[in-house]
Amino acid sequence: MLVYNSGMPKQLTILSAKIAFRIGRLFGKGGSALPGLVAERIDPQVLSKLVRGNFRKGIILITGTNGKTTTALLTAEILRADGRTVLHNRGGSNLMRGLLSTMIQACNLGGRVKADTAVFEVDENAFPAIVAAVKPTHIIVTNLFRDQLDRYGELDATAQKLAGALRKADAMAWLNADDPLVASLASATKNSSFFGVQASTSTKLDDEWSADSLVSPKSGVPLIYSKRYYSHIGIYKSSNGDFSRPKADIEATHPQAKQDQLSFQLKLGNREITVRTKLGGFYNVYNVLAAVAVTYQLGVSPDTIRVTMQESKPAFGRLERIDYKGRELYLLLVKNPVGFNQIIETFLLPDHEVSALIIINDNIADGRDVSWLWDANLEALSEKKRNLIVSGQRADDMALRLKYANVAKFTTKANPEHGIDKLVTSVKPGQKIYIVPTYTAMLSIRSWLAKKTGIQEYWQ
């Protein structure tokens, strides 16, 4: 096996890792972590060495519980439209090794990357080490929700980790004003701005069970919400006045979110623009807004931003549409209760008849603990006519969840592909089928659909 040797020339480290990447491809894998693993074994400092000297126009890190992949994709698209060359970790490989693999694939043997800007989504746990290694110029924190507690631990602990990293970073931070825990991170930053939303709507779903930050991060007294958009996202102030939603430096107003599009108004400098995208769901207002905020700060013109957003498509597995046997399949990755509630509220509730396949796995990347299913409001599905199939390693747990939510009609299929075929035969051509998989379930069902339909594998 490879021996630790930080004295090895950088070129040799890169070469070994590139070979590992090629070998991975031969076996038809995305190989997103292997080259990184090889490089790291040879030289643990390799990421910071590789990043140094590259990306003269900036390094943007995006972290938070939900929305990282979409925000990173939109940010990269806007910057490219502005004429920059951007390196972006597309596969969602957001740990140290994933970033390293992205760098290894992109650089030449001398370590040069043909990109003036880096846009990396970063896992919350990996964030402190990655901040130290890459020294970002800009940071976005999207939101903090309870998520895979067996991996991440408690939310407060995650927030403390992020705060520690922000304290040491010399970056401009964009924080979500409407998430109390994220907003409270401002005190840990040298230089921060807020993005936020002013909307007249509040959540229709009883989703407080997914909320962790309904108390002041300062004193622990309850927060009072004048508007609660979803979970603990909204306009709030603490009952003793020690903490309130900060004024947003960039603020979306009049948001209109549907299943397949959204729009909002925005003041950039003295320009008033309307941003429209083909992404659906209110939660995506925040992802679009964060991408707009950081790119505007980097000097992209409002017109370029507006035009790029009109054309943008969802990231893989995130509301991604795949046409299969004449039906519209939508992949809606689910990771945690807040995400599940957003999927329910946006996609599964409004339609009269919904066809959906829910696939719950419990591999490490999904979270081995499936308790979170009980924090999502599946009860909301009990009243309407639905065509539901549950599958995945923990199909029985999902079935039990639906039973106790009084959702009477659903079936269980051991094999998710059979679930899709059953739904396809039971709905008319042109109708929508929602697939709601956890992470590893999404990778495998998407791969299967890629073979069936000829869409690209996610790493291509």
Binding site: E154, E208, W209, R368, D369, S371, L373, W374, D375, Y404
Partner: protein
């Protein structure tokens, strides 16, 4: 009428704890036993009457010190109720606070209310994973544990069961949970009650007994529960 009293729902709800309350309520409803869920939070007055089932879940560290202080004001009511046979379920952090104390590695000690003869010490390693327990009362129980606190029971304190897979109270003595009268404390979530309907029904029957209602409950179709439990019992810890 059975009242399911959910203590500190905002602070103590971390690992899908709500599922336990949902399960109690549903299994009453499916038998046409009238029930309702009542929330009792910080500063709220707690009174416990015959027919009540008390539930407390786990919480983040930040929430727990405030909860410990508030629980002290409710201690007499809870202890008396448990002594007179009120059913109670406490999960993880809630279980710890129902012992004598929780001593974290760092920071101040949290006082408990001594429903269980148990003491908890902070540990440096987190015990995370699937857990299978064999209980004399209930047979096989399954769940997921995630705690760093190590709980040691007093000599006369009965445990809930013996660990077959996983860590349990402290990862050393094979014991898991505690049981006093009709009160159960456990580290198992998952959520705990949905996959362990024998415990759910035992709690409901205890409430029925307090009400003077029939304690032999109508049988339900538990095939889904069994399937999910069988699957969980095969998982690696």
């Amino acid at each position: 009428m059975i009242r399911i009293i959910h203590l500190y729902p905002k602070e103590m709800n971390i690992y899908g704890d709500r599922g336990n309350v949902v399960a109690l309520n549903a299994r009453c409803a499916w038998r046409n036993i009238q029930s309702k869920i009542v929330f009792c939070g910080l500063g709220d007055k707690l009174s416990i009457a015959p027919g009540d089932i008390v539930f407390i879940g786990g919480g983040q560290d930040r929430g727990q010190s405030r909860v410990a202080a508030d629980l002290e004001t409710k201690a007499d009511v809870i202890r008396q109720a448990v002594e007179s046979g009120t059913p109670l379920l406490a999960i993880c952090g809630g279980y710890q606070l129902l012992g004598h104390h929780f001593r974290p590695i760092e920071g101040p000690e949290l006082g408990g209310i001594g429903v269980f003869d148990a003491k908890t010490m902070g540990g440096s390693e987190r015990m995370i994973g699937n857990i299978v327990v064999e209980s004399k009362h209930f047979g096989r129980l399954v769940g997921f544990e995630n705690h760093s606190g190590q709980t040691i029971l007093g000599e006369k304190q009965a445990e809930l069961g013996v660990v077959r897979r996983g860590c349990g109270n402290n990862g050393k003595d094979q014991g898991e949970g505690a049981m006093t009268q009709h009160a159960i404390g456990t580290y198992m979530h998952g959520s705990f009650l949905p996959k362990n309907p024998a415990v759910t029904d035992w709690l409901i029957a205890a409430a029925q007994e307090q009400l003077g209602e029939p304690t032999v409950l109508k049988k339900l179709d538990d095939s889904l529960e069994r399937k999910a439990s069988d699957y969980a019992a095969r998982l690696e810890p």
